[in-house]
């Protein structure tokens, strides 16, 4: 959104979204809101999702030096934390946190883009238009999750020595120097599924399409689906975990595990995490 647009419509962008009724199964272009539920208790931190993302989304391998400079391009990464109260050994194991774009409803990145390269789609994704992006990197600076990745180098000329380009997914752009990129929830798969569903006069079925990370996950720790459909597994899980898409701070029982990360910043993320459990008596 441009600055003028942003200032003129400040209230809409900061307060209105998300609003109840924004998504409606019976309204055209409002029938989908893609969301995730990620169970941290069964995520083992194995990185299968990361590698699957590299394969699906043409992510470049940047090499050691650039990795060190913080120029790695993993759209989904596994963060590993040790317990703060650890004495000698991490006796309760490590904490793994798969972190990808949270597809916020009130996305902090969207409001700061000077050229409107990142905006919200009708199905609740935070889209990134590579062709409009001028590389200001404001969005990355404003992203509380640090899941936007900037192409500091012209990776297509270095990252895929022949014949590795043969592996690249033709449904996904190969990005060059100077633009920002991020997790898309595998929008190429979603578009294909939506198109197929439209041809068959129906909505996308639950489980019909999943992003590459969800498909790969050996423990099935990630659930993906259309949260507008109350019968979808992801909608049921959000409800069961007392997490409401439209609320910034959830009021929930302390036995319930669902939460959204950095909720208090009010970005209204679309990814619900479920707390890790540890048997304290073990």
């Amino acid at each position: 959104m441009s600055i003028t647009n942003l200032l003129n419509n400040w209230s809409f962008y900061r307060n209105k979204r998300p609003y109840r009724g924004q998504y409606d199964l019976n309204k055209e272009y409002s029938e989908y809101k893609w969301a995730m539920a990620l169970d941290l208790d069964i995520c083992t931190g194995c990185n299968a999702c990361t590698t699957a993302c590299y394969a699906e989304n043409n992510l470049p391998v940047v090499g050691k030096k650039r990795f060190h400079h913080g120029q790695v391009m993993h759209w989904i990464r596994i963060e590993r934390y040790w317990d703060e109260k650890m004495v000698d050994f991490p006796e309760q194991g490590a904490s793994f946190l798969p972190m990808m774009c949270q597809q916020c409803e009130a996305a902090p990145c969207e409001t700061v883009c000077p050229v409107g390269a990142t905006s919200h789609t009708n199905d609740g994704l935070n889209s990134q238009n590579y062709h409009r992006c001028i590389g200001s990197r404001y969005c990355s600076a404003n992203c509380p999750y640090k899941v936007r990745y900037f192409n500091f180098w012209n990776y297509p000329s270095t990252a895929w020595p022949a014949p590795l380009p043969d592996q690249l997914n033709p449904d996904v752009t190969v990005r060059t120097k100077g633009i920002m990129e991020k997790c898309t929830f595998c929008v190429q798969r979603l578009n294909e599924a939506k198109s197929r569903a439209r041809t068959e006069y129906r909505l996308v079925r639950d489980g019909e399409v999943v992003p590459a990370c969800v498909q790969a996950c050996p423990t099935s720790a990630i659930t993906f689906g259309n949260i507008v459909d109350p019968n979808s597994k992801v909608a049921k899980m959000w409800k069961n975990q007392q997490v409401d898409l439209y609320k910034d701070l959830q009021e929930k029982d302390n036995t319930v595990r669902g939460y959204r990360i950095l909720e208090d910043l009010r970005p209204f993320p679309s990814v619900m995490y479920m707390e890790r459990i540890r048997d304290t008596e073990a």
Binding site: T51, Q92, P156
Partner: protein, 738 residues
């Protein structure tokens, strides 16, 4: 546009419109244009090609030995991505990162594309005709190669290729099939054989309420990680099971444990006996073991155990009480408990707990027995490397073939394998890339990758029934001068037994005939052709074979752990834990960019080797992260960067395996160090296997230091933010969840 191979807008050829269209230029199309690009529709319909649409073909992942059924996503004749095959009981439709990287093996820029022959000190390209003529001359019927002067080294192997290898050896009257895996499960197998009478029992993690794992990284590097991950997920659902991990260095499985216990390497068996001692005090368990074992166990009171193992004494009773409370449980041993001189004894002592707790039959039972022993898996062992090395050293071997193994890289330097290999007059390697072993060979033959090849596989860990996973080409071969290993083997067999094999012009026809032969066992009633195509399209053959019977006999003599194992060696005060990274294993796939850049789950380090050292130990030696340390054993020294890692015993240091290649390709060469080289000649007493964890090292700080490249930030905790929230298990109400 011109200096780059492709640019941002070369969105890789929407090959689309027709069959395979050819992008005329190296640069992509950014405008609406007419007449600049070609569309070349196929002449006739072709398999694998539906323009603009992905087609999925079932195959088998051969990146590790689990033989997961996979689906390859194919677009316009190129395989783009691997997915799990939901029809496979092993993968259950899931896939790990190592499996994903199969496409990077396929399109690897450093693949060997033509046969090479040793000329002087280097390898020179030759034609296939020349290569096959050389093979015929050197190992053909007139060469005098026969019987004991020939050896065939392979990696772990199963299926019909194994049969061909066996038949070839038979045709030479040779018994020298050396199946070598650097990280083989043989020690565990030997212990299982002693306890249960089978190599590998079936483990039901999903049925257990408590898993006590002594160093078994079943989620990362175990027998079937993708399958075990799915079982683990069930185990963590209501009623949530508890995982206790006891090991010297935290593995990925350990990182997911509810209780992780650091132990001195090699003393796991003693800890298990200490736990057994506590359990046997409960009246319900008193008669579960023979009196001899009971009396052996009784001397391991918590204090003694603590002294030997370095574990706090109260934890012995604690683990025992957990095992007593939570039934059924399952107790398993893994690499770090088994890789010692007394590895089998350690594992047997650990399995004793299952016997006491009555887990056998509940969470541990027999695998299904395959009705086809000929194609049954050969898991590979270290002893076969040793046997071959001895034979080569003794000058017995005139010709060796090497396939699916890289012994020059993985053999410890004390064996002098490279020098012994050089003594063999004729050495042939069948490889995808000219690795360290191939560099030593006289003839290097480029074979097809797993995604270009037909084949059949059987995993040695079968979750349900017997699953034969079928491999079919997901695309045409990328390089015209590469050949199917099966075809080569068939040619070789025909050198001596042309008549017997004359019906099969190629490996495909051989495999097809062999698979159709299995039809009765599968109780398939339709025609042979239907059976073949059903098999290929589903990718798996399921056989409901009866379970193997497993016993749980503990003869008293079987258990004889050495008295005190925690001996200090002033010269080499540290235990070396050569850890197996879940995407690197023995290092054969190190030349995949994705794997190099996939952070190690626990340290988050990429593109490197490192040595893990406990922060306390490091502090006492003045070591900071990034300091180069000299890790020296009796057999060599490695210079590695230090990484301060709390999940390791203070008396141990750990270096990951798989890096340190000299000749594998651009992504692997010169990255990190190879800890295989400094291993000591410590062997497991019962099996003769190399005791991987039996090496002692000294640690010396050098003045060099370099930044450790890792994904982790400067602080390794959440700094009080609620990123990963942990809920105590007694508060969570998993049963109410969806």
């Amino acid at each position: 546009m011109s200096e780059s191979g492709i640019n941002r807008r070369d969105f890789l050829k929407v090959l689309g419109l027709g069959g395979s269209s050819l992008a005329l230029t190296g640069c992509g199309n950014t405008d609406i244009r007419s007449g600049d690009e070609l569309i070349m529709p196929n002449v006739s319909p072709e398999d694998f090609v539906v323009p603009g649409l992905s087609v999925f073909y079932a195959s088998t992942c051969t990146q590790c030995g689990s033989a997961c059924g996979v689906m390859g996503r194919v677009r316009e004749g190129r395989v783009l991505k691997m997915e799990g095959n939901p029809q496979s009981k092993i993968s259950g439709g899931k896939i790990c990162g190592l499996g994903q990287a199969a496409v990077q093996v396929q399109y690897n820029p450093d693949r060997l594309t033509q046969p090479m022959m040793k000329v002087g000190n280097g390898l020179q390209p030759v034609s296939w005709d020349k290569a096959m003529a050389t093979l015929n001359e050197k190992v053909g019927p007139k060469s005098g190669i026969k019987g004991e002067n020939f050896a065939f080294m392979t990696g772990a192997m199963s299926g019909h290729l194994k049969v061909l290898v066996q038949n070839y050896l038979d045709s030479l009257d040779s018994k020298n099939h050396f199946a070598y895996e650097a990280l083989s499960p043989s020690i565990g197998f030997a212990a299982n054989k002693q306890v249960y009478g089978v190599d590998m029992p079936r483990l039901h993690f999903d049925k257990a309420k408590l898993i006590v794992s002594f160093g078994s990284d079943f989620l990362g590097t175990g027998a079937s990680p993708v399958h075990f991950a799915a079982e683990y997920a069930k185990f963590r659902k209501a009623p949530r099971g508890t995982l206790v991990q006891i090991e010297p260095k935290m593995t990925m499985t350990g990182a997911n444990a509810d209780r992780w216990i650091a132990i001195i390497p090699g003393t796991e068996g003693i800890f298990a006996l200490g736990v057994a001692n506590q359990l046997l005090k409960h009246s319900e368990f008193t008669n579960t073991v023979p009196a001899g074992i009971a009396s052996l166990v009784s001397k391991y009171d918590p204090e003694t155990v603590s002294q030997i193992t370095g574990v706090r004494p109260e934890l012995v009773g604690h683990v025992a009480s957990l095992l007593w409370e939570k039934t059924p449980s399952i107790v398993i041993s893994g690499a770090s408990a088994e890789g010692h001189a007394h590895g089998v004894q350690n594992a047997v002592a650990i399995q004793l707990l299952n016997k006491i707790l009555g887990n056998v039959g509940k969470t541990i039972d027999g695998q299904a027995k395959s009705p086809f022993p000929q194609i049954a898996p050969e898991a590979g062992s270290f002893s076969s490397l040793k046997a071959m090395n001895d034979a080569m050293g003794g000058g017995k071997l005139q010709a060796v073939f090497i396939h699916g193994a890289n012994p020059v890289f993985t053999a410890p330097s004390f064996m002098g394998f490279r020098d012994n290999l050089r003594k063999v007059p004729f050495k042939v390697a069948f490889v995808n890339a000219a690795d360290e072993t191939a560099q030593e060979c006289d003839l290097v033959l480029p074979i097809l990758t797993a995604v270009e090849e037909f084949g059949s596989n059987i995993a040695w860990y079968q979750p349900e029934g017997v699953e034969i996973t079928m491999q079919q080409p997901l695309m045409n071969k990328l390089y015209p001068d590469t050949r199917s290993m099966g075809d080569i083997m068939l040619d070789l067999v025909k050198q001596r037994r042309a008549d017997e094999y004359k019906n099969w012009p190629d490996f495909f026809s051989y495999l097809k005939a062999a698979v159709i032969n299995m039809k009765p066992a599968v109780k398939y009633t339709d025609t042979d052709e239907h059976f073949w195509y059903d098999t290929l399209s589903s990718g798996v053959i399921h056989i409901d074979a009866p379970q193997e019977q497993i016993g749980d006999s503990f003869a008293e003599a079987a258990l004889s752990l050495p008295e005190v194992q925690n001996v200090q060696d002033p010269k080499f005060p540290f235990y070396l834990v050569p850890s197996e990274r879940h995407y690197f294993r023995d290092g054969r796939h190190a030349n995949c960019g994705w794997l190099q850049e996939s952070p190690d789950p626990l340290t988050t380090i990429v593109w490197d080797s490192w040595v893990e050292i406990h922060p306390k130990t490091a502090a006492s030696m003045g070591i900071k992260e990034g300091d180069y340390l000299e890790i020296a054993s009796q057999n060599g020294t490695l210079k590695v960067k230090a990484y301060l890692f709390p999940g390791i015993h203070p008396d141990a240091v750990s270096i990951p395996l798989g890096q340190g290649h000299e000749s594998l390709g651009r992504f692997a060469n010169g990255v990190g160090v190879n800890p295989f080289t400094i291993l000591n000649p410590v062997f497991e007493k019962d099996t003769g296997e190399l005791a991987m964890f039996g090496t002692r090292v000294s640690v010396k700080k050098t003045s060099d230091s370099e930044i450790v490249v890792k994904d982790e930030g400067p602080v390794s905790t959440q700094m009080g933010r609620k990123l990963v929230v942990t809920l105590p298990a007694d508060v969570a109400q998993l049963s109410k969840e969806i």
